[in-house]
């Protein structure tokens, strides 16, 4: 019997079909402004892709910001538990998970059995979230995919002192005007967010090994700076973006 996990984030929707042992199918799409519609579309697309019908799916668990808007879901579970479960399945030795989402950043510490033993989320503002990177990439007129690699080329990271997304944006504009190098400014931006995330990790008390899940795990610039600040390796999986959805699918199997 199959189970389905859907993760409706603030930017992207992810779905995972799970057969009790392994991942059968996965799907990712942008959410747009209507998360309810997005979830319907996601489920339909995923079923088509896998060539299955409604009745083949035993349970559906929804997670992410839009979790309560998924009509077909049997249960809604918060991202913390789902990310914990998903990452534990992919990388069972991991004890600390860093997840930088569109609106929320979180650090989760797992016990040896993979249960969440503690977590912390960013405070109310968007400073340490994926949104920060999006806004900065746009300000630098760089595609988000190229943003991380560009940061790695920076030799003297520019100093970005404001943690506020709006103020940091104007700081960047003046750095550009001053003629600082594109790579250096980009590197500075990555240092800025990494420092903020690192302070959350320290607040919670880091337990190694550490992994990153969520979309920002694809950004090599963030990984690199975080590794330098935390002085530890940060692992990722090819399925990093699906951590939440996978955890939801695993939860669905337990229902």
């Amino acid at each position: 019997m199959l189970t389905l996990g859907v993760d409706i984030g603030s930017l992207t929707a992810k779905g995972i079909l799970f057969d009790g042992n392994q991942i059968v199918e996965k799907y990712l799409m942008p959410v747009g402004y209507n998360s309810k519609k997005a979830s319907e579309k996601l489920i339909k697309a995923l079923m088509e892709k896998a060539g299955i019908v409604d009745t083949d799916i035993k349970n559906i668990v929804a997670t992410g910001y839009g979790r309560n808007n998924v009509e077909k879901a049997d249960k809604a579970v918060s991202e913390i538990i789902c990310h914990g479960k998903g990452v534990h399945f992919l990388l069972p030795h991991i004890r600390t998970i860093i997840d930088i989402g569109g609106q929320d950043s979180k650090v989760i510490v797992l016990d040896v059995s993979g249960k969440v033993s503690n977590f912390v989320m960013n405070d109310k503002c968007a400073a340490g979230t994926g949104r920060f990177l999006d806004v900065m990439a746009r300000a630098m007129e760089t595609e988000i995919e190229d943003f991380g690699p560009l940061a790695l080329q920076g030799e003297n990271p520019s100093k970005i002192s404001s943690v506020c997304t709006v103020f940091a944006e104007s700081e960047i504009i003046s750095l550009v005007a001053k003629g600082e190098k594109r790579e250096d400014i980009t590197s500075g931006i990555h240092w800025s967010i990494a420092r903020r995330i690192a302070s959350m990790v320290k607040r919670l008390g880091m337990v190694t090994p550490v992994a990153m899940s969520g979309g920002v795990a694809l950004n090599v610039g963030v990984i690199d700076t975080l590794e330098q600040i935390l002085e530890t390796k940060i692992e990722t999986s090819a399925l990093s973006q699906y951590g939440g959805a996978l955890g939801a699918a695993l939860m669905a199997a337990e229902l």
Binding site: E79, F119, K124
Partner: protein, 403 residues
């Protein structure tokens, strides 16, 4: 579910009567004093002065969801976004008369301010003293970093004397020591009763939650030292004991027990209480309402002259972070809680700034901590979906941990 406490009705009546009396105080030849929530109120009652609490008014403003609007007005006058929203609400209301109480608070004849709760109240009361052109007494309590020293004791005891002289000057009457003795005893008695009320929550399931405590607190804040308070808490205690005897819980099928830190989020009380109840979680205790019985041990029932100062200096907000953490540890054990919810309150710096340190100091207890960012009355500082995500995640973690 247990439903509402029956005593609530009586409480509302007492509060209504209290505010009406304050409003028409002058008709009865009485004076009105505005006083801070941690201020020494007993001498006022002994002198037949009606105490009025801008902070209690602030809580009402918050509960009526007027906090954001009133704060905005004050910000338009030049007050910073970061100024406590109780202060901003009061300053605005005293100008615009907007208030959940028709006409706002009755005008003060004198002001009494103690900085044992924060530094904000000093400026706030100075501003109001200028505005109303009335005398202000400041009861200055040194911060108790680690211990209450002999020097500190002498310093505050001298102020108790000055305070009494001040009241004599303002009223033109001799201080009534005989009455004060009675008031002091009644005040202590109501603290003991309040403590007993809160301690009924040790029972599983808990007959009350912190949300009840936030509501029933108003009397010990405003009228301690009066017989009404003693009688009311006796009634409340009786009702709560009936619940514990019959194992009636305030939250249906209570499974998880939580401790709350900081002031309530007045404008989201119902939402929060339903949110936690939905997870079968009861907030069984909180550091805020406990503050009104936290100094019992320092009070000498027969000697107010030399114990009033100590009692008012050693309150929860006027002690170091280590001691705050100790108090929290004590409650965690006493109330057998599964987690701690800390309201990081944009308004109240003295209450909020040590929270991360406290969290660190609790690490050895392996108790999950949730930090919720909000404000006690300013709804602009609150995001429901963010709070919801955090509370859900926190409760799911506790469930996972316990099962």
């Amino acid at each position: 579910m247990a439903g509402r406490l029956k005593a609530t009705k009586r409480m509302k009546k007492i509060m209504r009567r209290y505010y009406t009396q304050a409003k028409y105080a002058h008709l009865f030849g009485k004076k009105v004093a505005w006083i801070t929530s941690g201020g020494p109120v007993e001498p006022l009652i002994a002198m037949n002065i009606i105490p009025v609490y801008p902070e209690n008014h602030g809580a009402m403003i918050g509960a009526s969801k007027m906090g954001g609007k009133l704060s905005e007005f004050a910000e338009g006058m030049g007050y910073s976004q970061d100024v406590c929203s109780y202060a901003k609400g009061d300053i605005t209301s005293s100008i615009t008369k907007e208030s959940p109480i028709p006409g706002g608070l009755p005008k003060p004849d004198l002001l009494v301010c103690s900085n044992n709760i924060c530094g904000t109240v000093l400026k706030w009361y100075e501003i109001q003293a200028r505005k109303f052109n009335v005398p202000l007494f400041i009861y200055d309590t040194p911060f108790v970093h680690t211990e209450f020293t002999q020097e500190a004791k002498e310093y505050v005891d001298a102020q108790t004397q000055e305070y009494i002289q001040f009241l004599e000057r303002v009223t033109g009457k001799k201080f009534n020591h005989k009455r004060m003795k009675k008031v002091w005893r009644l005040s202590l008695k109501s603290m003991h009763l309040w403590k007993a009320v809160l301690e009924t929550a040790e029972h599983k399931p808990s007959p009350m939650t912190a949300f009840d405590a936030f509501f029933h607190l108003a009397l010990i804040v405003t009228l301690r030292g009066k017989k009404t308070v003693v009688r009311y808490y006796q009634l409340l205690l009786k009702e709560l004991k009936e619940r514990t005897e019959q194992d009636v819980g305030a939250v249906e099928n209570e499974k998880y027990r939580l401790l709350w830190d900081n002031l309530p989020i007045w404008f989201r009380m119902r939402w929060l209480s339903e949110k936690f109840a939905g997870h079968q979680a009861a907030l069984v205790a909180d550091t805020y309402t406990q503050a009104w019985c936290g100094v019992i041990d320092y009070i000498d029932e027969n000697d107010y002259m030399s114990s009033l100062g100590e009692a008012y200096t050693r309150i929860h907000l006027n002690v170091g972070v280590d001691q705050m953490a100790e108090t929290i540890k004590k409650f965690i054990k006493q109330y057998n809680v599964d987690g701690l919810v800390m309201h990081s309150n944009r308004s109240c710096k003295p209450y909020s700034f040590g929270q991360y340190d406290i969290q660190n100091l609790l690490r050895e207890m392996d108790i999950p901590v949730l930090i919720l960012e909000a404000d006690m009355t300013d709804e602009r500082k609150f995001s429901e979906s963010q709070a919801e995500t955090r509370i859900d995640a926190f409760m799911e973690m506790i469930k996972q941990k316990k099962n």
